[in-house]
């Protein structure tokens, strides 16, 4: 509850602050202060102190899993603000509003991680989505940004419609007349037709939100068209919050009849892994490559939904940490590049060794090399799937896809270390030393979580 209210209030503060802030750099400091307060408020709730006591009639339920995810999401946003604060200011004239929108998204994230009724699910997802549409189009004079925003909005609105339809069907097929996700009447034997139709519509709309194939078509264009700083945020925190909502919904409401819908998830997972990885190989722009790779990672996160056991939950949290930190870090490096193509990275090791070194750790983590958080996350996910024991071929497919992902991630590493920089042109903008320290800290987080995943996982059983 703390997180939902603080983020919403701070969003309003930031929005009106835009009128009063004189200097362009002020909003950034307010935003950083806000995120720290938000993080503190969420921690207080995690340790049992509720600042606001509101009776939600059980429509929201705060558990360790959701609160822990909130903490991860807020900490990653803090890292994002610290690394990219100046770049957010540069996107347009309304710096304060961008920060406000991000706070609204965080409000949606907190609802998505704690909903207990289908209505709250809908609210959470929509509060996350609508500011994302605006952020995508925030580079107003850039036609690509406009196009991406419109595309995202239209497709998003469509999938929202599907979700509402699904919710309505489940409500209607439910003799108890309840929106509570733990009170859906599933019957014995095969599902009632209305529930089954509702379930399929929910799978489709949630797959859309997390950009799982075959509902991923918006993702590359939107991630490519949006201002790079916001791509970084949307591809990480918004997407993973979608997964948290996805797994929460299906574990609580449809967990006991998992056998009946598992095949659907298996197909989506396999398609997402293949499409994401195979298309990423052919990209020349690093930004677009990261967009496709985010689809590929969605495939790995789908394993949490496929397995739906404790290991899968732990794995999803680890994935949230490893994937968010590595992707935010990688995008932060990308923002500083003059040329977004892979050739633009040529010889970065010579011109700026710190950027190249940290980017290497981020890329190794995304590939899933041991000693990085990416490996532990993938390891937990695959372990969860092997534990489930139904579809070992899917695990083997995932492993082959992980190897394919090495092809495109290592292409960037090869460019940075083994190719000569283009003569004369400087491939990287000047960066402050504090930026470098932050990148090193992010890389250190990756490695520490890679060696001691229990630092994250153990909190789940606090």
């Amino acid at each position: 509850m703390n997180a939902i209210l603080i983020s919403a209030l701070w969003g309003v503060v930031m929005m009106f602050g835009g009128v009063f802030f004189k200097k362009t750099s002020t909003p950034k400091y307010w935003a950083i202060a806000g995120i720290i307060i938000l993080l503190a408020g969420n921690m207080l709730e995690f340790f049992g102190t509720q600042i606001f006591k509101i009776d939600t009639k059980g429509m929201l339920r705060f558990d360790n899993f959701g609160l822990l995810f909130n903490t991860i999401a807020f900490a990653c946003t803090l890292l994002f603000f610290l690394l990219n604060g100046r770049d957010i200011e540069k996107v347009g004239e309304n710096g304060s509003e961008y920060f406000a929108l991000i706070f609204f998204i965080l409000c949606g994230v907190s609802i998505s991680s704690s909903f207990n009724t289908l209505l709250m699910l809908f609210l959470g997802i929509e509060i996350m989505s609508i500011p994302s549409y605006i952020l995508t189009g925030s580079d107003k004079r850039n036609l690509k940004s406009n196009e991406a925003s419109l595309k995202y909005f239209l497709m998003g609105a469509f999938s929202t419609g599907l979700m509402l339809m699904g919710i309505a069907l489940i409500y209607g097929g439910n003799s108890l007349g309840s929106f509570y996700i733990n009170m859906i009447e599933l019957g014995t034997g095969p599902m009632p037709v209305m529930i089954a139709a509702g379930l399929v519509l929910l799978v489709v709309s949630m797959s859309f939100k997390v950009s799982a194939a075959p509902f991923h078509f918006w993702a590359p264009d939107v991630y490519d068209g949006a201002p790079t700083v916001f791509t970084s945020f949307m591809a990480t925190i918004v997407k993973i919050a979608g997964f948290i909502a996805f797994i929460r919904l299906f574990k609580v409401s449809f967990g006991i009849i998992q056998q009946q819908w598992q095949m659907l998830i298996v197909l989506i997972t396999a398609a997402t892994l293949l499409i994401g990885n195979l298309t990423a190989v052919f990209q020349q722009s690093v930004k677009r490559m990261l967009a496709y790779s985010s689809i590929a990672h969605a495939g790995f996160m789908m394993f949490a939904l496929f397995a739906l056991n404790d290991t899968a939950q732990e794995g999803l949290l680890l994935y949230a940490v490893s994937y968010s930190v590595a992707t935010i870090g990688m995008f932060a490096v990308l923002v500083k590049m003059n040329d977004y193509t892979i050739e633009g990275f040529n010889g970065l090791y010579k011109t700026n060794p710190v950027l190249a070194g940290t980017a290497t750790i981020f890329l190794l983590s995304l590939t899933g090399i041991p000693l990085t958080a990416g490996f532990t996350a993938k390891f937990y996910m695959l372990l969860a799937a092997v534990k489930d024991g139904h579809q070992v071929w899917l695990v083997i497919l995932a492993v082959i896809c992980a190897a394919i992902s090495a092809v495109y991630y290592f292409r960037v590493i090869q460019a940075m270390y083994f190719k000569e920089p283009a003569a004369g042109a400087n491939n990287v903008m000047p960066v402050r030393s504090s930026f470098k320290y932050l990148l090193v800290i992010a890389a250190a987080i990756i490695i520490i979580v890679g060696i001691l995943p229990s630092l994250v996982v153990d909190w789940l059983y606090y």
């Binding site: 041991p370 492993v399 082959i400 083994f418 995943p453």
Partner: protein, 497 residues
């Protein structure tokens, strides 16, 4: 002190790891070289001291000096367990012994970014040590991959013209196969009995040995593990990364790669594959033996037609590794002891071969055997050393190669006569291509290229004499090594009853 505060496996692991990281921050190339040499010698000293504490039977307390376990991930049943048995001692010694030799032999070379180069080399050493001492499947997997990453950077950054492409091929091969092994590890893990109350299963090696897998499960998981080890060795159909990489890599990298890194595969088979999947091994041994023997003959025949020095050595290495693979799957006491001994011998011999090839290449600038000639008249020391090394590689009596190969052939003969007969053809073939190489490079008339070749440097002389001494000592008196590894072999064979 010993055993309470530190143990040998830890020291062998931490010395290269810590010095490897420190070395990245040293600027002067000269200091870097000396520091790397110092670090590798320190590791060697520790390894030699550890060899005095191998007698677990008469001194049970020695076991505590060599085995240690720390809590790492209690809730999934993984602990940071490291330890050494006979095979562990042997391979850590090989690793510790090879690095100073490699550093000394290439001491005169100037690498661009020397600090990065030597730092990565020491990290490779740490990764290799980790693989050889790991007593927990997850720790084993960690180090298995960690040895690969610095190697990837070493091979891609320093080497020939096509190094990036070739190294990437190697990387993808090993990465895919080790991920398959990871699935295998998970699968076996889910069938292990628990060690502590905190988790249902355990990654500890003893739990893996007592995992309850039925025949069909064993058969499936066996191939997942086999893929990883077979690619690393490499066994016949998985070898295509190897000749290219050996040709393109720089001198000291290829020494480590062929001398020690391929032993990871052989070690993995002996430590993990055979004891965990005895039934699957018994079921599949014929097909793998046939693969190995095809590999031996195929590689030997290709080596005959090669004209490039590096490629001859590379293909001859595939032949030798194939023989070791056959020795493993013949799985009787004689053949396994032969494999143990040959791991050490092959490591020493091939490093020696690369040192000589490197000297020739540096002095003349070419590697084509047809364009060389008459080096014997120019550098008699080098010639003497080289002929001894070649004879050891062929497996002539009184050299170390003889004992190992003899044991392996005898073991193979015990298993199946005809396989042994076919494998023995490789001795003749290897004598042919090796002696042909000696003849073309060292004898005959000098030409315009070889005319101005001088004698070899002190460091190289020293390294080669150490190696030649090792070749002869191990050839005459291999007893201590065989004694060291007997326990491991007995343990492995106990699974096959």
């Amino acid at each position: 002190m010993l055993g309470t505060y530190y143990t040998f496996p830890e020291l062998l692991l931490w010395i290269p790891l810590v010095t490897g990281i420190i070395i990245f921050f040293i600027k002067s190339p000269k200091a870097v070289k000396n520091f790397a040499l110092f670090s590798s010698v320190a590791t060697l000293v520790v390894s030699i001291i550890s060899l005095c504490y191998t007698d677990f039977v008469h001194h049970p307390e020695y076991a505590t000096y060599n085995n240690v376990s720390y809590v790492w991930l209690p809730y999934i049943g993984s602990s940071f367990s490291v330890g050494m048995d006979g095979m562990g001692f042997l391979l850590t010694f090989l690793t510790a012994f090879s690095f100073p030799l490699v550093f000394a032999a290439t001491y005169k070379r100037e690498y661009p970014n020397a600090n990065v180069y030597y730092g990565l080399m020491l990290l490779v050493q740490a990764g290799l040590m980790g693989v050889f001492v790991a007593m927990d499947a997850l720790v084993f997997y960690f180090f298995w991959e960690l040895a690969l990453i610095p190697m990837y950077f070493l091979c891609s950054r320093w080497g020939g013209e096509f190094r990036i492409r070739v190294t990437f091929k190697f990387f993808i091969y090993t990465f895919v196969s080790s991920l398959l092994m990871l699935i295998g590890i998970m699968f076996v893990y889910l069938h292990t009995p628990p060690v502590t109350a905190l988790s249902e299963h355990s990654f500890y090696i003893k739990s893996f040995y007592s995992a309850t897998l039925d025949a069909s499960q064993q058969n499936m998981v066996f191939w997942l593990f086999f893929a990883a080890f077979a690619v690393k060795m490499p066994i016949f159909p998985f070898h295509s990364w190897q000749p290219d990489l050996y040709e393109q890599s720089s001198d000291s990298t290829v020494m480590v790669l062929s001398g020690i890194m391929v032993k990871m595969g052989i070690f993995g088979m002996l430590r993990w594959l055979l004891p965990i999947f005895p039934e699957a091994v018994e079921k599949n041994d014929t097909i793998i033996l046939v693969m190995c023997i095809i590999g031996i003959l195929y590689a030997s025949i290709i080596a005959l037609s090669q004209t490039d020095l590096k490629r001859i050595v590379a293909w001859s290495s595939i032949a030798h590794i194939g023989l070791m693979g056959a020795g493993i799957f013949a799985r009787n006491n004689t053949s396994l002891q032969g494999v143990m001994l040959e791991m050490l011998n092959h490591g020493i011999n091939i490093i020696a071969l690369w040192i000589v090839v490197d000297i020739i290449e540096k002095k003349t600038g070419i590697r084509k055997i047809s364009e060389l000639g008459g080096l014997a008249t120019k550098s008699s020391t080098l010639t003497t050393f080289f002929i001894i090394i070649v004879l050891a590689n062929i497996g002539l009596p009184l050299t170390n190669g003889f004992v190992g190969e003899f044991l392996m052939f005898t073991g193979l003969f015990e298993y199946n006569k005809w396989m042994a007969v076919f494998a023995c053809i490789s001795i003749i073939l290897s004598a042919t291509y090796m002696l042909n190489m000696v003849q073309k490079v060292f004898f005959g008339n000098t030409n315009s290229i070889t005319e101005n070749v001088g004698s070899i440097s002190g460091g190289q002389k020293f390294t080669l004499s150490v190696i030649v001494a090792a070749i002869i000592i191990l050839g005459i008196y291999p007893g201590p090594v065989l004694h060291l590894t007997q326990d491991t072999v007995t343990d492995i064979l106990q699974k096959f009853k």
